[in-house]
């Protein structure tokens, strides 16, 4: 229950921030992708199940407020969360390299998928431009923001883990 509420609040706050505050402090019109950070980190921290659900709801927010057809972002983010969940077996909270690498990978993958489905299919073939002007800047900015956001998510994760252990000992 606590897990659910904390995830819901995180998604909500990050989305609102992303569409308002980060727009105001964007670099060259590029904003960081907090939704990918959330979906990926819930994936590798709490497993496939949490990853795909968080990804699904992150995508849903994107669909309602930005997408043309409903469902495309939900689908993309859900798979990002799910695939990151596969790495939960080799995730250790002390190690920062794996999370960063996974988030970078996820964001670049997200950019590539968006390019293929939303641009390439409409006949925009100038891939190098989109790669250097949207995908890479977004990833770099996302990583900078991740350095601040990730400790927060990690802290929540550790708190939840503690609470879970505590409740297991007391109730079961």
């Amino acid at each position: 229950m606590k897990k659910l509420i904390s995830a819901a609040i995180l998604i909500f706050v990050c989305f609102v921030l992303q569409s308002t505050v980060f727009r105001a402090i964007s670099f060259g019109g590029i904003i960081p992708n907090l939704m990918v950070v959330l979906a990926a980190s819930f994936g590798f921290m709490q497993g496939e199940f949490a990853g795909l659900l968080v990804g699904f709801f992150c995508g849903m927010f994107m669909d309602v407020f930005t997408g043309d057809v409903f469902g495309i972002y939900s689908l993309i983010y859900m798979y990002i969360g799910y695939i990151n969940g596969k790495f939960s077996y080799i995730f250790y909270p002390e190690d920062i390299k794996l999370p960063i690498a996974l988030i970078v990978g996820s964001d670049i993958t997200y950019g590539l998928i968006c390019y293929v489905f939303l641009f390439l299919l409409r006949g925009r073939f100038h891939f190098p431009f989109y790669f250097t002007h949207v995908i890479i800047p977004e990833t770099v900015y996302t990583i900078i923001v991740t350095l601040f956001l990730y400790p927060l998510i990690l802290w929540i994760y550790k708190r939840l883990l503690k609470a879970e252990k505590g409740s297991e000992n007391s109730i079961v």
């Binding site: 308002t20 199940f49 795909l52 927010f61 930005t66 057809v69 409903f70 939900s74 969940g85 100038h126």
Partner: protein, 298 residues
């Protein structure tokens, strides 16, 4: 792993790959449904209006306040010198204005003679604040704080600073989503004001950084279109009302087929700093009505 629901202690859990499968199918169904109708987005939009919009409104209001304050401090010096310059301009313009007024009387008289109406000024409009921008980097849309409760409907045109911004693509109770004409998947049927040559103005992410919108398919056999010409929405557009200013021609090139021309225009609106917009509460409906009538006749 068995495909049936797995029992673990007292709690039922669904293996995540089946959940993934179910949700994927759900998404695809939603994709197809929303592509055909807007049933689901209507429900979700009203939910979103209750949950997210109040927060976005609050934050953007605070943000606007803060940025206004910093701008104010920055601009005081600039304003002093600008004020002096403008005062001179006011004097010049007053003289010009009187001249123009005389011409205007003449114009109204002539218009009455031709029984033409100045449509642009007669549209009923409502103002709105921009409360949130696109949360992604691929397209350009934003959310405004007026919705169906204020009479906003889908496909209504949105203006700012005298130029066309875009059109409403999604409406909630207290909010609506506007897709800008510079968005990569937006196309506007336009014409050159002076020569009435039609063309297509289509947004492009590639030219977004340089502040231009590309146009294509301009038929200009007499080579009359020049840089700086006004570009307005055309009469044949089915979503945009005619005669709304889009921008000014910045560059013209002849296409390889030697028949049409393409190039770019500079929009009349500053898309980087949109805070308030005007929505025209009128739609170009007659085309649909005509179509219905035709179908009935058929």
């Amino acid at each position: 792993m068995s495909p049936v629901v797995k029992q673990k202690g007292e709690r039922f859990t669904l293996p995540s790959k089946y959940l993934l499968f179910i949700l994927s199918i759900l998404c695809v169904i939603l994709l197809i449904i929303t592509y055909k109708t807007n049933f689901i987005s209507n429900t979700l939009n009203s939910v979103a209006g209750v949950v997210v919009i109040p927060f976005e409104k609050g934050i953007s209001r605070a943000g606007v306040y803060l940025s206004n304050r910093t701008e104010q401090l920055k601009q005081i010096n600039e304003l002093l010198s600008e004020n002096e310059r403008l005062q001179k301009q006011v004097d010049e313009l007053t003289v010009e204005n009187t001249k123009m007024q005389q011409e205007r009387y003449e114009l109204t008289a002539l218009r009455e003679l031709f029984q033409l109406k100045d449509d642009y000024a007669d549209y009923q409009m409502t103002g709105a604040h921009v409360i949130a921008r696109d949360a992604g980097n691929w397209f350009y849309s934003f959310v405004i704080d007026k919705g169906s409760n204020d009479g906003v409907e889908k496909d209504m045109n949105v203006l700012a600073g005298g130029g066309l911004v875009g059109r409403v693509v999604d409406v909630g109770n207290t909010w609506s989503k506007v897709k800008a004409i510079i968005a990569d998947d937006s196309n506007v049927s336009a014409k050159i004001l002076s020569t009435s040559d039609n063309m297509i103005v289509s947004g492009s992410l590639e030219q977004y950084a340089s502040g231009q919108i590309p146009f294509t398919q301009l038929l200009d056999n007499d080579n009359q279109v020049a840089v700086g010409d006004k570009v307005v929405t055309s009469n044949i557009s089915d979503k945009f009302l005619p005669g709304i200013l889009i921008g000014y021609v910045h560059e013209i090139n002849t296409d390889a087929n030697n028949l049409t021309k393409s190039g770019s225009i500079i929009p009349a609106v500053d898309f980087e700093h949109i805070e308030d917009v005007l929505i025209i509460l009128e739609q170009k409906q007659y085309i649909e009505e005509d179509k219905n009538q035709n179908e009935e006749i058929d």
